[in-house]
Amino acid sequence: MATRVIVMIVSLIVLSGAGYASWYGIGSVSSDTGAGSVRSGSVGAVGVGRVRVK
């Protein structure tokens, strides 16, 4: 019975965490955005849909 309770609690924690991260878009914000964002040099390569930091 204890194992079942532990599995249920862990499952709910994982589900809640995923729900929170999904709803608030955790991890989806581009790394080169944010207040005070500044240019920090150039990688000099042709972009292929990825972030290019100049």
């Binding site: 194992t3 079942r4 599995v7 249920m8 499952s11 994982v14 589900l15 965490g17 995923a18 729900g19 991260a21 999904s22 709803w23 608030y24 878009g25 955790i26 991890g27 989806s28 914000v29 581009s30 080169d32 955005t33 944010g34 207040a35 005070g36 964002s37 500044v38 240019r39 042709v46 972009g47 292929v48 849909g49 990825r50 972030v51 290019r52 930091v53 100049k54």
Partner: protein
Amino acid sequence: MTGHVSSIDCTNCGAGLQVLGGGRVTTQVCGYCGARLDASDAYRVLSIHAGMQRPDSPFRLGQTGEIDGVSFTIIGTLGLVERWKGREWRWVDHILYSPTHGYGWLTVEDGHILWTRKVRDWPTGAFLTAQSVESAESRPTRIWRAEQYTYYATSAWEVDFVEGEFTWRPERGQRGSTVSMMPSGRASRMLAFSDGAEREVEVTRYCPEAADAFGVPAPAAKGVHPLQPYVPKDGKSFYAVWFAAMTAAALCMALWVVATSGNPRTLFEGAPTDLPSALSFEVDTTTRPVRLQFYQSLSQAWAEYDVTLTDPAGVLLADTGRGISYYFGGVGEDAWTEGSRYADLTFAPTTPGTYRIEMALADGEQAAARSTLRLTVQDGMGASLWSWAVAGLFAMAFLWTMSSRKRHSMARWKGSDWTEEDD
């Protein structure tokens, strides 16, 4: 103790030995000195196996217990070993005797207990030997008592320990082979073609209850035995329902996140050279990120854009760039593409209001200046990937739970030495 019990003194070392095995016993091996005695000739010494190491088994000579409602007494013990390619498998056979039902075998193999009886009604077809298996082009089968048995494995065994009474003359180092077969369905019985001192066909079943019947502690079973019936673990139904529910909840969550994202709004569509010096868009809520997506219908070309984004208060949120490139080639299976016609910039809005984006073509091929560029904005963006991933995780847990019977069956047949050869 049942049946007539008598005893003798070992004619080699003088130790007292019980005589329990009935009239068909021909050989008695002293457990103290290893002397093989001829039971049909005043127990004269045939040979002496000194220094034998007793194999691990909870059963001992003279113990009595009931199997299938019949009382049996353990009269002999054989330690057997199979060696192949540097590996070694050991098991213990105990010969049992009942005055009313004759002889049988109790085997302890990797902690699993098996019960074996000789059968007189042999299966249809020729006696299966290791040689006939070796030359067979397909996995051998036999019909026995209206059930089809499929080849499982061949065991080339060697006697490593011997003690007690036997109906033949076993000795250390004696070799033989056994070909075993099982029905392909649920675990039930194993049919064995034993080719040793004499040819016999035996049937074996899983018999864990023998430990209780003989009043010995049940040995710790290792792994899954080929004859071991499938027994669902406690809570299987609960876990299956729980993980199914968790999967459904995570899927609903992922769909909800997608469904509640704002609609994409087009800010600009046209040639990059027609881009205005600045574009603006409204953001109503700051709880979820906003995505700016760039699409350009490039073919064999690339372009790079400078992008500057400021919030309603004039705070710089991004001073960066985005590149778009798309190349392709080849035909059929050799077709390839590289790059993407899409790029995006996702940011966390700081305050509701009007955001401003400045965007200009910084570099690129000439074709890029003529290809249509589309810029869209979409607020209320979540990251449904988390929910999809967790749904996948719970789905795997569900499938793992539900596949326990199949996994058990695969584990039972894992030890089969039959391999289909590719022509």
